[in-house]
């Protein structure tokens, strides 16, 4: 059992939990994730470690309520416990002194970007950080990100905070101003990553994206998280979660992420059909 030490709401649907997990806190590196199962009836879901403190023995996760499991997770209160939690999983982010780094986060993807930003900063890189969300209330970790960055640009789709527009628009502007980057790190909704990394790759910036496909065990055993990178099948849990964005088959990833969504709506349709039949 893993106790919830602190429970905070960051935005309407986004929560930050601090969890008592000394062993994971001790081993984890930027870019790694955990798999958790809130209760015995829940699914196992992967979540990136957003922050950790080895001395105090805690890790933090940030999640958005999107489905059944995150709903159950959100219902757990401070002081109660998460049933199962395993990690740290995946390969840590490759951190070195690249020079000038561009970090782009979208939506709840800003959370997994944060430890990478910290690690890049600690390695002596100059950082430009761009974070975006649909609106002001969904923009998270503004203060934290600003504190780590040499240049910090928040943006919202509706302009309710920072500039108006998408993170990809900010990138285009930066390039337009003649900015040059030695490496880019992009994390966010899969469509945002596809669009943004297409632009960064076109500018010949080595770009890394952190993928969040469907997983069960997280140790390589099930192969459910497979993604195509440069035409080769990789397991995101053990080979990733970060990959060279230039080689990622984004359309396949989008399809695979939607596997059960379409399945669920199909099941819902089937259900409706039965109901209609019964009414007739």
């Amino acid at each position: 059992m893993f106790r919830i030490l602190k429970r905070e709401q960051l935005s309407e649907q986004v929560w930050r939990y601090r969890l008592d997990a000394p062993r994971i806190a001790n081993k984890r590196k930027a870019g790694q994730f955990i798999i958790l199962r809130p209760t015995s009836q829940s699914e196992r879901i992967p979540l990136t470690i957003a922050n950790a403190n080895a001395d105090e023995g805690w890790i933090e996760i940030i999640f958005q309520v999107v489905g059944k499991t995150t709903m159950v997770l959100q219902a757990l209160q401070e002081g109660s416990s998460i049933l199962d939690l395993a990690g740290p999983l995946g390969k840590p982010t490759h951190i070195e002194k690249f020079g000038k780094c561009l970090c782009i986060g979208g939506g709840v993807g800003v959370a997994p970007l944060y430890p990478i930003v910290c690690a890049l900063k600690a390695a002596g890189n100059e950082l430009t950080t761009v974070i975006g969300a649909r609106n002001k209330s969904l923009l998270i970790l503004e203060k934290e990100m600003a504190a780590q960055s040499d240049l910090f640009i928040p943006t919202t789709d509706d302009g309710s905070n920072g500039r108006k527009g998408f993170v990809s628009d900010v990138f285009k502007e930066l390039i337009g101003k003649g900015e040059i980057f030695d490496a880019a790190f992009v994390i966010g909704p899969v469509m945002m990553m596809k669009v943004t990394t297409t632009l960064t790759v076109a500018e010949k910036i080595p770009t890394f994206a952190s993928l969040n496909p469907i997983m069960i065990d997280g140790t390589g055993m099930c192969g459910g998280c497979r993604v195509s990178v440069n035409g080769e099948t990789k397991f995101a849990c053990v080979d990733g979660p970060e990959f060279d964005a230039a080689g990622i088959d984004w359309n396949e990833l989008i399809r695979r992420l939607n596997s059960y969504k379409m399945f669920e709506s199909k099941a819902r349709d089937d259900h409706n059909c039965h109901l209609e039949g019964a009414l007739k």
Binding site: R23, I24, K27, R37, Q41, S42, E43, R44, K68, T69, L83, D84, L85, A86, G87, P88, L89, I216, D217, T219, G220, M221, C222, G223, G224, R226, V227, S228, T233, F235, V238, E252, R255, R256, N258, S259, Y260, M262, F263, E264
Partner: protein, 468 residues
């Protein structure tokens, strides 16, 4: 009526095991065979000739004292029979169900020369079930604590056996399990209808009663390394029984389409996450037409699971002929009875999908058998121009696994083979690293439960010797 198969009083035929009717069981997840009644068990046990030199014992990887336990059943001493079994086999209720007895003990039985061998597996299962169901399981006395700690990586058959041997010797034993549930392949791999999870749970509870500590959600190589255990956490020895590892794929077009699963994923969703139950939050594609690729026991498990999840048609596609199938004959037979369709000498070349990526068909070619290959089996060769499509909505790939690199890659001084399996001295279970031992699928590649148990036992013996 023919003489064979109907005569239960003679020595020639064995007492048959009653089973759920094929078409009934194909719709539920309950265990297929019912097990012997006391009368049936006694009757079957009495068939044993009590050979002076029992060949059956030699045929068993852990040398279960077969004539002795069978003799006790014949006398109606069921609890004693179970205890006799447990002297050499820590998991008799499991082995009675999943061991390939027909290749081991039963293949050596003298009765088998002229008729059917003694049903050793059925009797093993009976004794273990009887003891458990009557609630008369005895907790054997362990030797006084010797103050030494041993870590076991993985709670599958190898790890459980090793832990059982060591706790009785007075060691402090901790099992580290990566998943949230213990049992390894016994819980995530083998389906409920072949091995009820309750039985595995009871076997693990038994070990806990003996004093074994279990750490779930603990991934050796990630949460802590083998070196951490030896250097910082006070363990004197580590046994690695981490299992088969990463699923293999065919590297054909369309393998990442929606509805394509590795057998590991498909079975894990159904078994470990109980996706077959309406209360489970874990989804699974309940295909109407499911194809499983492969010819081993795992393929049979997957195909039979697909049927139980509601497939109208569950098919096996295998590139060789039935004779070359590695699955147990009994499993193939059960699958056939339930209506699984076997497409033999048939090899997939592409998985087709609709515009949204959902699987629509498996494109295959026909094969014929040519000259024997390195495995001694006749090599399948493609029949020119034989391409055809089998419509389906789920494809399950059950063609094997490659070893998980998690432990070797984080423990550089453990030698691995070119296939990635951990190299051990077979007779001792010792690896190239001092005080680190290994056994089971991580050493042999995918094999059987009983071989893994045998390896766990061998390693335990070496640990006891080395830590004296």
């Amino acid at each position: 009526m023919s003489e064979e198969g109907t005569n239960n009083t003679g020595k020639k035929s064995r007492v048959p095991m009653r089973e759920q009717a094929p078409l009934v069981r194909a719709k539920n997840f309950e265990e297929v065979p019912y097990g012997y009644s006391e009368e049936e068990a006694i009757q079957e046990a009495k068939r044993c000739l009590k050979c002076k030199k029992p060949l059956c014992v030699e045929g068993c990887p852990v040398n279960v004292k077969i004539p002795e336990f069978v003799g006790l059943i014949a006398e109606g001493k069921f609890a004693e029979a179970a205890r006799k079994l447990k002297e050499t086999n820590a998991l008799p209720a499991v082995c009675g169900r999943v061991c390939p007895q027909e290749e081991q003990c039963e293949s050596r039985c003298i009765l088998g020369k002229k008729g059917e061998p003694v049903a050793v597996g059925n009797l093993e299962r009976f004794a273990a079930d009887w003891e458990r169901e009557k609630g008369v399981v005895e907790i054997p006395a362990c030797k006084p604590k010797n103050g030494k700690k041993v870590a076991i990586v993985g709670s599958g058959p190898a790890g459980l056996t090793c832990a059982g041997e060591l706790i009785k010797e007075g060691f402090d034993v901790t099992i580290f399990e990566a998943l949230h549930e213990t049992g390894g392949v016994l819980v995530y791999g083998i389906p409920e209808f072949r091995l009820p999870k309750e039985i595995v749970k009871k076997e693990i509870e038994f070990l806990e009663k003996l004093g074994v500590t279990i750490e779930r959600n603990f991934i050796i190589g990630k949460t802590a390394t083998v070196d951490d255990l030896l250097n910082d956490e006070g363990y004197s020895a580590v046994f690695v029984g981490s299992g088969a590892g990463l699923p293999s794929f065919m590297k054909i077009k369309g393998e990442n389409n929606i509805g394509v699963y590795s057998a590991n994923e498909y079975l894990t969703r159904s078994n470990l996450m109980r996706a077959y139950s309406s209360t489970s939050a874990t989804p699974i594609m309940k295909g109407k037409r499911a194809i499983t690729v492969g010819g081993g026991n795992v393929a049979m498990d997957a195909a039979r699971t697909a049927l139980r999840l509601g497939a109208d048609k569950s098919m096996i596609v295998y590139r060789r002929s039935k004779e070359e199938m590695p699955a147990r004959k009994a499993e193939v037979h059960h699958a056939e009875e339930e209506g699984i369709e076997f497409n033999l000498l048939c090899n997939p070349v592409e998985i087709l999908s609709d515009e949204n990526g959902f699987v629509t068909a498996l494109r295959c070619v026909k094969m014929e058998l040519g000259e024997p290959d390195a495995s001694g089996r006749r090599k399948p060769v493609v029949v020119a121009g034989s391409e055809y499509d089998i419509p389906c909505d789920v494809v399950i790939i059950a063609i094997g696994n490659t070893p998980n690199p998690l432990i070797p890659s984080t423990t550089p001084d453990i030698s691995v083979s070119k296939w990635g399996t951990i190299v051990t001295d077979e007779t001792t279970g010792r690896t190239s690293k001092k005080f680190v031992y290994a056994g089971g699928d991580i050493v042999t590649g995918a094999a059987t439960v009983i071989l893994a148990m045998g390896a766990g036992k061998v390693a335990a013996k070496s640990i006891i010797e080395d830590l004296k």
